[in-house]
């Protein structure tokens, strides 16, 4: 594995907590690695677990999904559904042989700019350790 491997990570953030938390990290000028690229959704409950699969297939080395803490969901229960669905999906990925370090889920509230940084750092570190995920990419197929 190359030393200077920079993982490409796609993150799905709920609009109300985690996206706002990431914004707060920005407002507070809290620095973190640039490997993470965010797609904003309204609620973590919107994150179809197949997005995670799709991101890995489309070239992401890792995926992060972040939502409000349990009980804090702007839509009341979206994050509970997300937790259940993504939890079981994580089990599935792991069983198929996808390194569990490639997919993380977190709760980051709108006030947790620091936690967002920690989550990003942890995710980047884990995905870096897991290495590039060539195996599953569409591009690996020789046309």
């Amino acid at each position: 594995m190359s030393e200077d491997f920079e993982p490409n990570i796609v993150a799905f953030l709920c609009n109300w907590c985690s996206y706002a938390g990431a914004d707060l990290a920005g407002t507070s000028r809290i620095h973190y690695p640039a490997n993470i690229k965010v797609i904003r959704v309204m609620c973590s409950g919107r994150v179809n677990p197949l997005y995670v699969m799709n991101a890995l297939q489309q070239g992401a080395d890792g995926v992060l999904v972040s939502g409000c803490h349990p009980g804090d969901c702007h839509y009341m229960e979206g994050n509970y559904y997300a937790r259940r669905r993504l939890g079981i999906f994580k089990d599935l990925l792991e069983f198929v042989g996808v390194d569990p370090r490639r997919f993380h889920m977190s709760w980051v509230s709108a006030s947790e700019g620091h936690k967002w940084k920690e989550v990003v750092e942890k995710t980047v570190e884990d995905v870096r350790a897991a290495g590039p995920f060539e195996g599953f990419r569409r591009r690996q197929i020789d046309w």
Binding site: L50, M53, Y81, G87, K90, F95, I141
Partner: protein, 326 residues
Amino acid sequence: MDLEQLRKTAAEVVAKDDVKYLIGWKKGTYGYRVSPVFIENEADTEDLIFSPLCTANLVTYLTLVEKPPLPRGQKPDTRKVALMVKGCDSRAVAQILVEKGIEREQIIVIGCPCPGVIDVNLLVAKYPEVAENTELKWSGEDFVLIRGGEEIPVKREEVLAEKCRLCRYPNPVVSDIMIGEPVKPWQTEEDTGVSELEGKNVAERWEYWEEQFARCIRCYSCRNVCPLCYCEDCILDRLNPTWINRAVNFSENTAFHIARAFHLAGRCVECGECERVCPVKIPLGRLNRKLAREVRDNYGFEPGLDPDGKPFQASYKPDDPEDFIL
């Protein structure tokens, strides 16, 4: 099972005006094969059988029937459908009822307590198939093969299907008419297929599945045979948006199988049909059973037991596991 009773009951059912047909099993065209049969009149009920060869889950047919546009003014045929179910099959009925895929009053469920069916590959390996149709019967704990007037005892453990080794619901959980006496559930074996894989590390598992999925020809038989895969427009071969390309290669095949397994998480009733029908012998049951086990162990949920229950993916508990969350 008493075939006389089955046929008599079936005849009574199809004789009713509000019954369209009865779906059951009949002898196949050769060897060990058994064929699903749609019986519309009483005379044909003589064809019905129930034996250890009746592996097919007939519940699939409830949702498989197309609904092509009807000519103006024509009323749809809303007569009931009767069908025979084993224990595992009946769980599919229960799960479909949860999902409102069928209405309870539209079906007549003929429950067949099932002492276990065979894996035809195991049977063929031990007792090669011949052209003539061959009968297999339950006999005490074991089976007996009837070929050319000769009765050959067959040990249960030699030919029993994997799903039956793991079966905890041999008796139908949903039924209107029960044929014969309930069977006593047996001691289930360890799911070695799953636990063996769990014992490997992720890289080894990836390698394992890579080999399996690379073989897939995307004939969709696993999806089509599944009683719970009944979306009219399946997202796995939809083009707009494209979740999975039609191209057949390892990447798309893997995505296909991940997505298929995930869509069945908390829904799969472990009837084993996907694995049985796979023409390239991908052990798909392992994927489904793994998820079923996680769902059972970690979420305390088992699908296909309560027709009035809540769907797994559309419900939650505040204390669902979250040890994986950062």
